[in-house]
Symmetry: D2
Subunit: 393 residues, 4 copies
């Protein structure tokens, strides 16, 4: 890497790809510490107009249609990989071989074996090889994490979390790639993987999972007349119907190596909830809660207050919490932020890590992304084994 | 039963016993329909001063120290049994044999065998033999239940619930009977039984449970110098410590015969949450949420609203919901109510059932109380079998 | 008064009258301290069936149709007056002359002169002569009040409150007595009087009001075909319309003698809000908030917490707050309560005051009820004088 | 203006200036419609290091220390003015004379006369001359505004709003320019001006204000040992104290030309509330609420729902609301956003307006900024005239 500047590129110009593109664009405007200059170099997408339009909008110099052009580019140092996950392995291996720092979207790969290969490819390279668990970039989630250990939460005893979306609630929404593939590749992989990562963010590695139920409630869906894009249900459909192959709901319990207990509840058919992530962390010293509907706040309780005026408090993330002070231009408490800002902070953390800085917490490694997949695999195995406990390898 | 009046008695004058005593006292003031006269006859408690004081405060004619005096009393028609659950079987059998209608607190008995005997004792008597699942008396919970079936929720797909209390959070709180007894007799039996009942209230019978974790996080507690009463932690303790025998946390998943999926999370060590019950009911047609912190409201979503002004609505239980109109004196929407009112509505429902009326939903039967125990047993079995699915008999 | 017992009666058997009837019935079941025996003696209502039915439901010995029968009854010691306020003066004067303790509903009278006469009538009698500001009986509101002075709030700097109802929102709701009478007799008198009382409960006497706007937004309403009862809009109406004479909205600012500032916002046409009362109390030391939608909680902030985990806390009223411990049977934190319980606590406080006890805060005196009317008068005067400040006498 | 591109500059590199700088940087990445290329040209600040650092961070070509350099620059078409408001007039007049489009921060000027001159300067130029009422850019606030008129709210009857901050709550916070200047230049000018603008955004022009109280509760503050920057209270102070000259609290009522009524409550000493803006809009057809603590949502009620499942709904701003769809990269409902995004949308709207596009609502004009000042002047006049109504000219 040229220490004077970092050239960045993004492979994949869909919605999440654009979030990465915007993230790098804004990342260099945060804080005043000495991040090297960030050059916005290239966007790659197999669909050329997408690549070109994204490059134009986000101010990147070049549009490419083949990821190899990125791997081969001398002016690129750091690359986000934001394409369908069956493609991750080849691209990440190629980029690492070419000496690029990599930030790969989750889930890392369709199989544990693929992810193991990716981790292996990164070993010994000295490159930053990261997994994009964006939700870890929530200032509120970080505010809670600061309370672990010697903080107010003490040893965690119980993690309870849900991730509920409604994109599949309408049974008339057309069949698409989301509804195809084996059990475990539905709601569990799409959104449950985030929740598993957060559980491990607070409690350390999952030791075993049990009681997994992967349930397909909407058993068939209409075949679209055109191509369904994104989560959209606005597509005209035919009278024909196809079977849904993977799960609408995933729920399971877990034990963590630390001794904590976990309860997980995931659904893509939760009526009225576009994007509802929430969890509780109960510890020996206190408890904290998070709800994505109030992204700039978290709940907190401990035993420090007199009973007459004590209670759960709503902590507004302000300058005392990581990320906020000196970050976005308006940085006083309660101006708020959204999930797009998570991508900005993620980009910033990746860039800082490349530059050897550590203002922000480091990105999850590929190894953490691999472990996440191992937990998902164990969940599928538990579901197949009548709920029996399956140890995570 | 004398059709002109109903004589009531309560066995047990502790906190919950007083709630029953108050419930009968107020029940007859609700609504204007033709409930027979309610006579407040007797209170029994082995501790005589408790019985006498309770009779005085709640206006009952007699105080007794032996439940048999209630069973033998000609002027008593209906009896609440609110004592430690190992005593339930003998008392309920005795009362039924004496021709009394019985409302027995949950959990019905320490063992399924005891509860089976109780159900058998009630068969063919023509008496009302009910289990006190008080939470079913929440107007908001009933407002949600009205939406089942042809209502807005449609077929239920997923029930997700928690019941979290903090009475055991402080590890310095003294050991007591609550912390003794086998796995399953801790948080699961105390508060989890309510949550299981609510799951079945919305989804019908649980078919199998799996993934059960019964976890004791606070492994020992100090021995009190005096006698610990109620949930109190205000007792002086010695330096000696005793092992906690049963679970602080109980979590598991379930499948219902209807095809719905369940996620359950129960704890008695949830810092800062004195009494937090909440659940979500996700159905084909819509979804509903309940949180005990807002007892007079429930959340509701369906697909009937335009996107620009649609969203989860906070439904304030008003005259359109069961229980409210014509009940408590101030009966317009949003005057609110608390859990003590649940006991009043429960008493009213029990009395109406005895009188052959049915304005309010009937009480849970002893058979439902028995089924609840069978589910709890299956949960314990699943926990012992490494989380494997256990079918509820 | 016979010191061994207190005989109670209620004049007026409408909704609020029933709330008083139920209040006395339950009041004696609270707490274990030595309240004399409470005898439920009589209900009076000019509509005889109402009186009789109320006596039956709430367990009072006699039904009367003339309040004088109450005044003359030797077995009655304490009387609630819950009739239309033009009748208050004559009845209260008569009761006081007959040596009865009186609890009169607010607003005390249609004119300040009437209320002055009532206060005068009570002077020197040694009787308890109280005004029924029921909202003062909210445990949460009391929990806030405990924080005044040396408590966490310190000197109050600003009181901001609203009371919004929707009973008049539908312009098709029929004309009734509520919509007739001079400006000031509409939303201001009906619900604004409560808010003014709460302002004074926290800040002491209002010194002057200013900027009053009394606005009639729904200028005419249909004439009902039958008689409109209560707030109901379910009545069939004719094509004829009549002018609404008094205000739908009342808003004004105030200064308190203490130096605090007040903002008041009152409406009876607030769509979707059946009964929304809320306020903020900002003090030198901290701030508190209340919202009737969460009746068993209040918000509280001060500067005592570290920024990383500090914030507004939601204080659940528990045993540490007045009213709760030892009161309703279930008395642990967060079981909740509703406005009907306010009437029970009010009845209890009135009875305790008669008995010379003072566990609960005393009732507002008639003099406080008079002062409330003087503030309302000043508001009307300010509205007539183009908003100019009017000093409260 | 060169129709192929727009060159932008920002005068003032403080916190709000940086928000403008970032806004322009991101604005061009939103939506795919044909905005001309946006060139980030220059930052001016009298403190040269500030200007240079801001230019570096936000990617602007030049740093200047004199605004005249911006006015004279051929490659600048559009300029944000984000300096102390006594400097606004001269700069805006100069920029307009030089043919630049101008976006000036609010409050427009220290006096109405200055603002009148500014409006005059813009007349006939054909340039976009806008006032920066950033809060109008909230998607939720826009979602509410869409419901005016034929929408669900119908004619507005009552606007009730508050803006409460706590930056002055600590009486030990040092004196600064914020606390100096005549009554009206304190909380009213700083934050009240936003609330007045929002009132007019929903109800049209204020006709008269009344009952204004401008109250200084913290009468003196310590003199800092150094220079206080921003809102900070972290500065060491001397023992010396100086009088606070302007108001901590501003409250008043208003009538709008439309017939609606207004209640306004503003404070800079509201303990625990860093930045609490909230309001209710009550209309003939429905009602809406907004609370900055939940920036991506608004409350809404109308009469369209059955009573059993109806209630206030929490509307999450999604693609159906202005601003959201196609804007920030992640654009599905509930990803959320913060106040920094308001600046981006404001910049975008200003640029679109210059380009003759109108996807987003236009910026407030200088004339609207002038009217805002006239309302503030009337409020001050009402406060001086004992609360009497003052007509806004």
């Amino acid at each position: 890497m040229a220490s004077e500047s970092i050239g960045v590129a993004v492979i994949g110009a869909g919605m999440a790809g654009r979030a990465h593109l915007g993230g790098y664009r804004t990342a260099s405007t945060l804080y005043d510490a000495g991040l090297p200059e960030v050059r916005l170099v290239a966007v790659a997408d197999t669909h050329e107009p997408f690549a070109r339009e994204a490059a134009r909008r986000y101010g990147y110099r070049r549009a490419e249609t083949d990821w190899r052009a990125i791997a081969e580019a001398d002016d690129v140092d750091a690359v986000s990989v934001v394409v369908a996950n069956p493609l991750h392995r080849e691209i990440v291996e190629g980029l690492l071989a070419a000496g690029k720092h990599v930030l790969c979207e989750k889930p890392l790969a369709p199989t544990v074996a693929d992810a193991e290969a990716m981790v292996k490819a990164a070993e010994g390279t000295g490159l930053v090889a990261a997994t994009g668990f964006t939700l870890r970039r929530s200032p509120a989630i970080n505010g809670i994490r600061q309370q672990l250990g010697d903080g107010g939460l003490g040893r965690v005893q119980h993690f309870n979390g849900h991730y509920w979306c409604d994109y599949g609630h309408n049974p008339g929404a057309p069949i698409s790639w989301r509804y195809r593939g084996p059990l475990g590749s539905g709601a569990l992989s799409d959104i449950g993987s985030h929740l598993v990562d957060l559980g491990e963010y607070f409690c350390g590695p999952v030791e075993s999972v049990r009681g997994a139920v992967l349930s397909t409630q909407v058993r068939e869906r209409p075949v679209p007349l055109g191509t369904a894009v994104g989560h959209s249900a606005d597509v005209r459909v035919s009278e024909e119907r196809e079977a849904v192959e993977n799960e609408d709901i995933a729920t399971f319990t877990a034990t963590f190596a630390s001794g904590a207990v976990g309860t997980f509840s995931v659904s893509r058919i939760a009526c009225g909830l576009a994007n509802s992530l929430g969890f509780e962390v109960f510890g020996e010293g206190g408890a904290a809660t998070f709800d994505m509907a109030r992204p700039a706040e978290f709940g907190f309780a401990d035993s420090s207050l007199p009973a007459a005026t004590g209670g759960y408090r709503q902590v507004v993330v302000g300058p005392q919490h990581p990320y906020v002070a000196g970050g976005l231009p308006m940085d006083f408490p309660s101006v708020g932020h959204g999930q797009n800002d998570f991508f900005t902070w993620q980009a910033r953390a990746f860039l800082e890590q490349i530059a050897g800085l550590d203002r922000l917490p480091h990105c999850a490694s590929l190894a953490e992304g691999l472990h996440n997949l191992r937990v998902l695999d164990a969940i599928v195995a538990s579901a197949s084994a009548d709920g029996q406990a399956v140890t995570v390898q």
